[in-house]
Point group: C2
């Protein structure tokens, strides 16, 4: 396995929506989740849960819940990332539920996406879906919120980088 230097990974990571049929080995999936769980977490609460889906029928259900983004069901593996709101609420009340557990899981997702890129995999962060429908498809309990659907496979496309706002445009000094 060839591992990449971090700035190379940060620069070359793309959202990949087309995948080869080849399956992803279990030990790669493990590396992805291991990378995710090393993200920082407010108060070390670690409100994240990961559901690894390979079952075709379930993937179809996820694609449907995600406004028929059919590339989801074409990936060999789909990881659904969830935030345990009960865990977040216990430590930090509403700020835990509405801010920290969203941030913690998002940081974990970014680690996962960078790890996927470093392993030569392609992945896409899907945020547009009906949460209740995803919960029903996956049997997710009431206090747990699905926050992202991430289809993963060997890339079958090489998309151009999207236009990004420049450092100058987004940087302020001392005050806004």
């Amino acid at each position: 396995m060839v591992y990449l230097e971090i700035f190379e990974v940060i620069k070359s990571r793309r959202s990949i929506r087309a995948y080869k049929r080849d399956d992803i080995p279990d030990d790669m999936v493990r590396i992805l989740i291991d990378s995710a769980r090393r993200a920082p977490s407010a108060g070390n609460v670690q409100p994240w849960e990961f559901i690894v889906v390979r079952d075709q029928r379930i993937k179809k259900g996820l694609a449907r819940a995600a406004l028929n983004q059919t590339f989801i069901e074409e990936a060999p593996v789909v990881i659904v990332v969830c935030a345990d709101e009960a865990r977040a609420r216990m430590s930090y009340g509403s700020r835990g539920v509405n801010l920290y557990c969203i941030q913690d899981t998002a940081a974990a997702i970014e680690n996962l996406l960078l790890a996927a890129c470093a392993l030569g995999l392609g992945a896409c962060w899907v945020g547009a879906f009906y949460e209740d429908e995803v919960k029903e498809v996956l049997g997710i309990p009431r206090d747990v919120r699905p926050v992202a659907i991430i289809p993963i496979g060997y890339p079958a496309e090489r998309p151009h980088p999207p236009p990004k706002r420049s450092v100058e445009e987004i940087t302020h000094y001392e005050t806004f």
Copy 2:
């Protein structure tokens, strides 16, 4: 500059709350923000804004707004990350404001923290602060929300890794 392999960075990154007095060169700050802006963003909205603070009086104001976490004012550089809710709302309504712009900025923050670690810097993601007070200190407009305060400097401590939930504990297969 020695750049690190990505899995090494993901594993070795710690929250650093004690800093040497040495200043951080501008080109390093630029690399941090450049890494942040390369994060994925729902619909490529890129709702992030970064305020780079070196002024001691302003850093003191931030520390006060952050429940007197005085290590904030001891860092040579503090970057305050903001989410532009107007930008998020325009594209995605309330889901943009309450979910996507929090996720996008969190992914950007994680990139920034990994980049800092790779550059030999120490940083800490501070989420506990009075948002209105931070907005006043920094003159942040109404539709922009401060989502994190990140003090950064050369590390003056080497904290032990916090206990993390295992891969097994957080991984589910096919359903929750």
